[in-house]
C-alpha cells in the first residue's frame, strides 16, 4: 500500500490569506490523487482529483492542486481563504486500477475572521 504524508497537522490563518497544504506519497507507479474535505459536522466530500492530463487541477470553492510527479507531491492551494474554509483536509492516493484509497493523517485548517 502507498503511504501518504501531510506535512501540517494544524494550520491557523486569517481570512484572505493564502493557503498551501502539502501532500507527498510513496508509490512509484501511476497514481490517482485526491483531496477530500470534511467541514464541521458534515460528511467527507471530494474537493478535487487528478488521474490524467493537466497536472494543475481545479476543484470546488476556488481550490486547486498541482501534481508534480518528480516530487511525488500533490499540494493543495487556495489564494484567498474564507472563514467557511475551516475544515479538515485529507489527501488520498491510489494506484491505477486499484480502488482502495490510502489517506494521509489530515490537516485541520482554522480560518480566523
Amino acid at each position: 500500500a502507498q503511504s501518504v504524508s501531510q506535512h501540517n497537522h494544524h494550520v491557523i490563518l486569517s481570512e484572505a490569506a493564502s493557503l498551501e497544504l502539502g501532500c507527498n506519497y510513496s508509490y512509484g507507479g501511476t497514481v490517482n490523487l485526491f483531496w477530500y474535505v470534511q467541514y464541521p459536522g458534515q460528511h467527507l466530500q471530494l474537493l478535487l482529483k487528478y488521474f490524467s492530463g493537466d497536472p494543475l487541477v481545479k476543484g470546488i470553492k476556488g481550490f486547486e492542486a498541482e501534481f508534480i510527479k518528480s516530487k511525488f507531491s500533490f499540494n493543495l492551494r487556495k489564494p484567498s481563504v474564507q472563514w467557511s474554509d475551516t475544515a479538515e483536509y485529507f489527501c488520498a492516493v491510489n494506484s491505477y486500477n486499484d480502488y482502495k484509497l490510502s489517506f494521509g493523517a489530515g490537516t485541520t485548517v482554522t480560518v480566523r475572521a
Binding site: 490517482n32 458534515q42 460528511h43 485529507f90 494506484s95 486500477n97 480502488y99 482502495k100 484509497l101 489530515g106
Partner: protein, 116 residues
C-alpha cells in the same frame, strides 16, 4: 445526489458486546468501504466489497467482519467490542466497477462508537 446513510450517529457499547454498524447507499454503486477515522491517523480501510457477497480485507481488519447480502447494504460487525475500537466509523461507496480507480468515493455521516 448520492446518499450514503449509516444506521447510527452515536453508539455506546460495553466491552465484549457484538456490535453491528449498517450502511446503505442509494446509487446502485458496486463498491462499498468501511473506514475508521482517528485523530492524527486519518482514515484507515477496514474492509471493502466490490460486489454482493464479495469482501476483501483492508489495512486493519483484525477484530472486524463484514456482510454484504444486498448491493445497497454493507454491514460492519465487531464480534466482541474492545475499548481500542472506540472510534469514528465511516462508510463509503463508489462506482464504476473496479479497473479504473479514479472514481469518487461518497461518504456517509459516520458513526461515533464509544466502547466502555
Amino acid at each position: 445526489d448520492v446518499k450514503v446513510t449509516q444506521s447510527s450517529r452515536y453508539l455506546v457499547k460495553r466491552t465484549g458486546e457484538k456490535v453491528f454498524l449498517e450502511c446503505v447507499q442509494d446509487m446502485d454503486h458496486e463498491n462499498m468501504f468501511w473506514y475508521r477515522q482517528d485523530p492524527g491517523l486519518g482514515l484507515r480501510l477496514i474492509y471493502f466489497s466490490y460486489d454482493v457477497k464479495m469482501k476483501e480485507k483492508g489495512d486493519i481488519p483484525e477484530g472486524y467482519s463484514v456482510s454484504r447480502e444486498k448491493k445497497e447494504r454493507f454491514s460492519l460487525i465487531l464480534e466482541s467490542a474492545s475499548t481500542n475500537q472506540t472510534s469514528m466509523y465511516l462508510c463509503a461507496s463508489s462506482s464504476p466497477p473496479p479497473g479504473q480507480g479514479s472514481e469518487t468515493q461518497y461518504f456517509g455521516p459516520g458513526t461515533r462508537l464509544l466502547v466502555l
